[in-house]
Symmetry: C2
Subunit: 228 residues, 2 copies
């Protein structure tokens, strides 16, 4: 098994690549994501690119991308992470703002046997408590058909399917407002000049919530047919 640091680096590179549509990741992006010095990233990435098998393709001053071998490890760690999040939430009563931190350490130490047992106990879930997809044993991810709340048209109803990011404060705030997975919402209005987006939770209180764009960008919605 790779070290905890190696696994966290590869996972982070995978996630940054994903956020950047496959673009090479830069040293400083990864460094600030992981909270280490730039020089530490350069050092690690150089080692990854001369490991056998090579884990990243590294072009100095340009950036790096995962090789197939590196991606495989990243996906294994992500599978662990998200299964653990599910398990903690379902079996041990964790709330969605608590699971991430615990999973961040557990992901590196569980055996394949434990992974399998948890998956089985959970009925092979395909997404975690935040709606993030769980790779299967072969590393395949299902694709959700979602758009950011910022892009949902006014009056267009939709369902919350995923929340990007793990900040506990934000997750707790959203849950308090009733903005949880599977909640049905409708955009009432979008203030101009990047102003807040006002939404209503369908079949619930009539209260209207105003969300900043930053937050709305992180809420992914599956649009549903317009029920007038």
């Amino acid at each position: 098994m790779k070290s905890q640091s190696t696994e966290d680096y590869l996972k982070a590179i995978y996630q940054l690549q994903e956020m950047q549509n496959g673009e090479p990741v830069s040293t400083s992006t990864l460094a600030s994501w992981l909270g280490v010095a730039n020089a530490s990233v350069t050092g690690m990435v150089k080692r990854f690119s001369s490991a056998d098998p090579k884990l990243v393709e590294y072009e100095p001053y340009t950036g790096f991308v995962l090789t197939d071998a590196g991606e495989k490890i990243a996906l294994e760690v992500i599978r662990h992470h998200r299964l653990i999040e599910c398990y903690l939430s379902q079996a041990l009563g964790y709330s969605w703002d608590e699971v991430h931190e615990e999973a961040e350490r557990l992901e590196h130490v569980i055996s394949e046997a434990m992974e399998d047992r948890m998956a089985q106990a959970l009925g092979n879930p395909i997404s975690d408590p935040h709606g993030d997809p769980i790779p299967d044993r072969e590393g395949n991810l299902h694709q959700l058909n979602v758009i950011p709340l910022t892009q949902l048209a006014v009056e267009q109803p939709g369902t919350i399917r995923r929340v990007i990011g793990q900040e506990p404060d934000l997750l707790r705030y959203l849950a308090e407002q009733g903005l949880v997975l599977s909640a049905h919402i409708k955009v009432i209005s979008k203030a101009p000049f990047n102003g807040p987006i006002s939404i209503r939770i369908v079949n619930s209180s009539e209260t209207i919530l105003a969300l900043g764009r930053e937050v709305a960008e992180k809420i992914l919605i599956q649009p549903s047919s317009n029920t007038r």
Copy 2:
């Protein structure tokens, strides 16, 4: 949190001290227990004894014992380990020969919150799947009233309460023979010259099992009043 190595060293010292009735542990004993070189132990123990707070009392060429601070950490790790063993066995269907290896890594990464949730889910167990006592949050251990099977008198019935050691092969073998926790047994005979001990499982088959002294030494029995 201390490093995984530090936690494993302190736990090992605790367990060796326990096995030696509080005698100082020697460098080579700990080295072979942990599977590292003697020089590695000397190095680690020196660091422990000059840490703040001091974790071991170290007398060169003589040995070392845990300080209160060191023992506190050891007991925390042991609590983690044994709770995890229980949890894996109860909640995820692990058998008693599988739990140890998994717990050996998980013990270092679970949060206090997870410890509490597992303990609660299990109803605050006081012993693990091998009958090893689980320290409570303050580090208190309950004491079992048991003797090794080798010391049980012929015809004296008793109950298996604990099995010392974690070798999966031995544990599997014992389970196959019906020698599990709570099994009622009776010694039929003890062969002389350190020969095997023959026992019978009460209320079960009439089969007589012959156990070597090495094995019998590891099976701890709570004697019961002689029925008959």
